[in-house]
Amino acid sequence: MSSENKTPLLSVRNLVVEFSTRYGPVRAVDDISFDVYPNETVGIVGESGCGKTVTGLTLLQLIPMPPGRIVQGSINFDGRDLTKLSEKEMQEMRGSDISMIFQEPMTALNPVFSVGNQMIDVLRRHKNLTRRQARELAINMLDTVGIPAPRKRIDEYPHQMSGGMRQRVMIAMALSCGPKLLIADEPTTALDVTTQAQVMEQIVKLQDEFHMSMILVTHDLGVVAESCDRAIVMYCGNIIETAAIDDLFHKPQHPYTRGLLDSIPRIREERITELPIIRGMVPDLLHLPDGCRFADRCPRATDECRQDKPVVNIDPVTGNGVACYHPMG
């Protein structure tokens, strides 16, 4: 999508997040910059350990500090730099302007309070409502996310619900204060495919209804293809490619993106004997190479790649960019 005459809702610049470990500091997110525009869905994709979840958590300052630390960078949201806010100001922000849904709905909900109680708490925390009003609103939200008999189910506890239902409750809770930005971290990974289809359909529909922007953090390129406008591909803490969704899937520029797309097992017309692979494995974040972090696994790597790390150059017209000396073209 073109970004002319629009101001981004969220603008992340040169963000670096470090965790101190027994073996030394690890940069989980290393100098990333990206924008999210109003009403836009941006996917952050990558494999385990690439920094996608940490990115999502850092936006809301939900990483444990210490051992985590924002070393540098800014997170501009709606005119304010979130890295400069106090914890109290952040609390106001969380759940009302920016909401988050998590992968595991069982651990994200409190098992000892009924679903209704938890939803009412959120509503009353951010809005000036009586208990009765908040309850009505909560019932409304449960209905909106497709929970049958919401008036009855609102008094149930999380363990009485199935995984899909719990994730819907999470979504209802996240949306109840009308956030401008929803961060969804692997929202359907713990669900079965048929439930995933139900939940994703619901999320996309609600995003439209509520006019929110969404950041969808996932490892599943299929989910990204179906619900995002734009995607960011991460590898070892870096953004290695960002592109409009059609471009990313049909003209991937980075050899890693290409490899990732090729190696997804997909249902094919004719079976093949060998799946394409990316050889080798992700380097250890404690011992990163100097040059491009993908160079060791890359079929196109040259000496240049091993010496100097390429950076993402964003094309001002398309908004696409790739960190590679030898893009696929």
């Binding site: 199935s162 048929t194 293809a225 179906e226 494995m281």
Partner: protein
């Protein structure tokens, strides 16, 4: 081709205890009357959503879970009639690869000890021969000899899964149950392990019962595919047939629910309503009728018979009333 494994009406019920005297108050019907045949050197893929009983079936076939009733005929011997000693002897020809490469390897044993253990248990060869066999196995799964004295924590998920595979091959089995062997792995590593399994199947003529929730993975490795729902096989056919022309309404919904990694191909989706019923109290008649878009009155009353909608030599079995008139012969 000859039959390696024949499973007839296999059932595995888990007792549920409760009440004042801790009596058995109900049963979870995890596997409820499953029959299939597996030919030598072929792979049967077993697909279904969580809780459908696919893993229980895999373990029951090896008698790792003691089946409630039914027959398991491996190479002409009914495993159900064997005593402990005879069963242990038979275990040499049947092995299992587990889902979680983190939990299925002992953290206190080196790679060499782990892979050698089956040889020690069955007292095969001299110590020197065992060592040699372990080295051969490492080579087969693509690990270097230098790793022999290392411990599991030093390896990535993909490498651990290779160690688990090497262990399962130690006794030259002719039948391996692979229970979600790639589900815990990232896509780029997943395809490496899938290619390895496909190669073992081709080069060593091993028959696999390959269990997965991922239809794309199942298509890649399987000759035949069984679809499970609520403890029963609802469709069973050759992979080519099943993927080209799924017949059971559940299989169709499952296939349409998979997100397609291509933004230009928005799939036409069959969204199933509701949740999977509890296996403690499965619905009467067809287990799928509560969610089936094509359910008829008859489906609520009678359990559908197994109908062959294929031909005599290319059978395509489907347990569904919709095809009652189509039965070949």
């Amino acid at each position: 081709m000859s039959t390696l494994l024949k499973v007839v009406d296999l059932k595995k019920y888990f007792p549920v205890r409760g009440g004042m005297f801790h009596r058995v108050v109900a049963h979870v019907k995890a596997v409820d009357g499953v029959s299939f045949e597996l030919e030598k050197g072929r792979t049967l893929g077993l697909v279904g959503e969580s809780g459908c009983g696919k893993s229980t079936l895999g373990r029951a076939v090896l008698r790792l879970h003691e089946p409630t009733s039914g027959q398991i005929i491996l190479n002409g011997d009914d495993l159900m009639t064997l005593n402990r000693e005879a069963l242990t002897a038979h275990r040499r020809q049947m092995q299992i690869i587990f889902q979680d490469p983190y939990a299925s390897l002992s953290p206190r044993r080196t790679v060499a000890q782990t892979i050698q253990e089956p040889l020690d248990v069955h007292k095969i060869g001299t110590p020197r021969e065992r060592e040699k066999k372990v080295e051969e196995l490492l080579d087969v799964v693509g690990l270097r000899k230098q790793v022999l004295s290392r411990y599991p924590h030093e390896f990535s998920g993909g490498q651990r899964q290779r160690i688990g595979i090497a262990r399962s091959l130690a006794l030259n089995p002719n039948f391996i149950v692979a229970d979600e062997p790639v589900s815990a792995l990232d896509v780029s590593v997943q395809s490496q392990v899938l290619n390895l399994i496909a190669r073992l199947q081709r080069e060593h003529g091993i028959s696999f019962l390959f269990i997965s929730h991922d239809l794309a993975v199942i298509q890649h490795v399987s000759d035949d595919v069984g679809v499970m729902y609520l403890g029963r096989l609802v469709e069973l056919a050759s992979a080519d047939d099943l993927y080209r022309k799924p017949r059971h309404p559940y299989t169709k919904a499952l296939m349409s629910a998979i997100p397609v990694p291509d933004p230009k191909k928005k799939s036409k989706r069959i969204i199933l309503g509701g949740d999977v019923p509890s296996p403690m109290n499965p619905p009467p008649g067809c287990p799928f009728h509560t969610r089936c878009p094509d359910a008829m009155p008859r489906c609520k009353e009678a359990v559908p018979p197994r109908i062959n909608v294929g031909s005599e030599d290319q059978p395509h079995f489907v347990d569904c009333h919709l095809f009652a008139d189509e039965s070949a012969t």
